[in-house]
């Protein structure tokens, strides 16, 4: 079998993650060693992990994909134990067999950065209420979806989804249909958030690795805009065919907003993203502590939001910390188990080099982002793309050189990870959250497979093929 195909099968099996390190070029390091960076300035060598250690990662990914569908009761109650147990296996292997604690510390730091951002956005936006008492029209719906796509870049796809899904359902209460929610997931929960690291978790992981904050908007807006426009046009035509039945109430046209102090929390979270020793020299580096000043600020916002958010708003939002708890537990396992997977992928990419095309990265990142979570998938492929050019994902200067010189690979991976997250309910965290909110309102949503064959395949795939033909073919 072709080595390229083998490599992408390996990615497919393994994908997901947020590596901390990559392999140094074979020419400078021994075949069985890896280079792990310390403080982004120098590297120490550690032994290559055994390929068997990828198994916990594969098990976890398969269970994340199948658990909520095939064995929901077991999964609902046991996922924290499963995730922690699988992660612990890899941690023990690295700590006691490879004696590579540097990698574990890096991973822990990355995990805390990731969860601090998501949790703070989740809790802060949960205390905000928007009520729109207007009659839905296709144009108004397009406006809300476009607004959601834009603010997703400021408060994350998670925050924007939580903020807008209820008003979106409410104004459509006399004409509610599953396609309305599906397009909401496409646009607000996924594609909208492709312009900043705050927008979608994969991009934030890239930012943590050294990609400039504004690189994304600069290099992705001209793909984001036509893609979004095309999907909104499709939505408009479908929505125009949804004829109103008689309105069940008189609409006042009023828009009500509550929870202003939580907007301040969101602003603090946004500013805190930049409080990083790699971005601002005055920021103290608290290493080897896995938690920095940014994370301390963001976790403080979590506590503040929990203590001060308006109870009435929380009730209106039917606020429930379960979704973020689930993310926190699952990503403990994902971050830990993906370490060996990422190392192997980078190594293979480095060996295969020129044979890997940008189109291969686009489709592989995308298809895996659809069926796995897109955040770890993104880092796996970012690591591979860097490895292809002999760069090290652990060294910020390498990442910066890569994003400027070979930006098309980074662009393809970034676009694919964010856009394809909309392909399934499990492609991106907010998808399931939106589904859950909608079902709690008594609205039947399409099953996992119906979502794919009724909506993703006929609507998204043709759009993504166009993106590929125009930009990466």
């Amino acid at each position: 079998m072709n080595k390229n195909i083998l490599f992408f099968i390996l990615l497919t099996i393994v994908s997901l993650s947020t590596v901390n390190y990559t392999f140094a070029q074979e020419s400078t390091h021994s075949k069985n060693n890896i280079a792990v960076s310390e403080n982004n300035t120098h590297t120490v060598e550690h032994e290559l992990p055994n390929t068997v250690m990828v198994i916990p990662f594969i098990i976890l990914l398969v269970m994340i994909a199948t658990g909520p569908i095939l064995y929901p009761h077991f999964w609902e109650h046991q996922y924290p134990k499963v995730s922690v147990l699988l992660g612990t296996i890899v941690v023990i292997y690295y700590a006691f067999f490879l004696h590579n604690t540097t990698s574990l510390l890096h991973t822990a730091a990355e995990y805390f950065s990731f969860i601090a951002l998501l949790a703070s956005l989740f809790f802060a936006s949960g205390g905000i209420m928007i009520k729109v008492d207007k009659k839905a029209t296709p144009i108004l719906n397009v406006g809300i979806l476009l607004f959601g796509a834009i603010i997703a870049n400021l408060i994350g796809t998670t925050g924007a989804s939580m903020l807008l899904i209820r008003p979106f359902i409410k104004i459509n209460q006399d004409r509610i249909k599953p396609y309305l929610i599906v397009f909401f997931i496409f646009i607000v929960s996924n594609i909208g958030g492709a312009l900043t690291p705050i927008g979608d978790p994969p991009l934030f992981l890239g930012f943590l690795r050294g990609i400039d904050f504004f690189w994304f908007i600069e290099h992705i807006w001209y793909i984001w805009l036509p893609t979004l426009t095309l999907i909104l046009i499709i939505f408009y035509f479908i929505d125009s065919r949804n004829r109103d039945i008689k309105a069940s109430k008189e609409y006042t046209g009023k828009i009500e907003f509550k929870g202003a102090k939580n907007l301040i929390y969101l602003a603090i979270i946004l500013v805190a993203v930049f409080i990083d020793p790699n971005v601002m020299s005055w920021v103290p580096n608290l290493a080897p502590s896995p938690i920095g000043l940014r994370e301390i600020i963001q976790f403080s916002v979590v506590i503040l939001a929990m203590k001060t958010s308006d109870i009435e708003i929380l009730k209106y939002n039917e606020f429930n910390a379960e979704p973020i708890k689930e993310v926190a537990y699952l990503f403990i396992g994902i971050f830990a188990t993906m370490i060996p997977a990422l190392q192997l992928i980078s190594h293979e990419a480095n060996v295969l080099g020129d044979k890997l095309t940008v189109g291969m990265f686009f489709w592989s990142t995308g298809l895996l982002s659809g069926v796995l979570d897109n955040a770890p998938t993104y880092l796996n492929f970012l690591s591979a793309a860097l490895g292809k050019f002999g760069f090290d994902i652990n060294i910020a200067t390498d990442v910066k050189e890569f994003m400027n010189v070979d930006y098309i690979f980074l662009q393809a991976i970034s676009v694919a990870a964010v856009f394809f997250g909309a392909m399934t309910y499990i492609g991106n965290g907010p998808n399931f959250m939106v589904k859950s909110i909608v079902e709690r309102a008594g609205i039947e949503m399409p099953s996992f497979f119906a979502y794919v064959y009724k909506y993703s395949l006929p609507i998204l795939i043709p759009v993504f093929v166009l993106v590929w033909l125009v930009f990466y073919f």
């Binding site: 009761h73 009520k131 209820r166 359902i169 409410k170 209460q173 509610i176 929380l314 009730k315 209106y316 039917e318 606020f319 429930n320 910390a321 379960e322 589904k435 859950s436 909110i437 079902e439 709690r440 309102a441 008594g442 609205i443 039947e444």
Partner: protein
């Protein structure tokens, strides 16, 4: 025996024990939303829920929950669409949308669903 309207007006509570709730009126249940489960099939199927109406109360068993008090958070409610038994079920004006809140000591608060809260019958 009170009817649904009287129970709501007088703030009369129901009861809950484990996965069973008891409502102090006789009702035809049309739809239940509990967590993300939407239940409309009340046949003898083992999934979802089963309903029994006696001369003194209506009881519902939730098969997928062992203990409602442990499994529902303080912000979560059970939402029901129902009709007073004996009323014209085909007249939408007779339909009620109520929410049930699990309280301690087996108390079950019964309230109309506020207009703000999302619920589609």
């Amino acid at each position: 025996m009170k009817n649904i309207k009287e129970v709501l007006a007088e703030n009369i509570s129901g009861l809950h024990y484990g996965n069973r709730i008891l409502l102090p009126f006789k009702a035809e249940i049309l739809k239940i939303v509990i967590g993300t489960h939407i239940i409309t099939d009340f046949s003898k199927n083992i999934d979802g829920a089963s309903i029994r109406v006696t001369d003194f109360y209506t009881e519902i068993y939730f098969y997928e929950y062992k203990n409602l008090e442990e499994q529902l958070t303080k912000y979560e409610v059970i939402k029901l669409a129902l009709v007073q038994q004996g009323e014209d079920i085909f007249n939408f004006d007779n339909h009620f949308a109520i929410e049930l809140k699990i309280e301690s000591k087996h108390k079950l608060l019964i309230e109309p669903i506020p207009t703000d809260l999302l619920f589609f019958e």
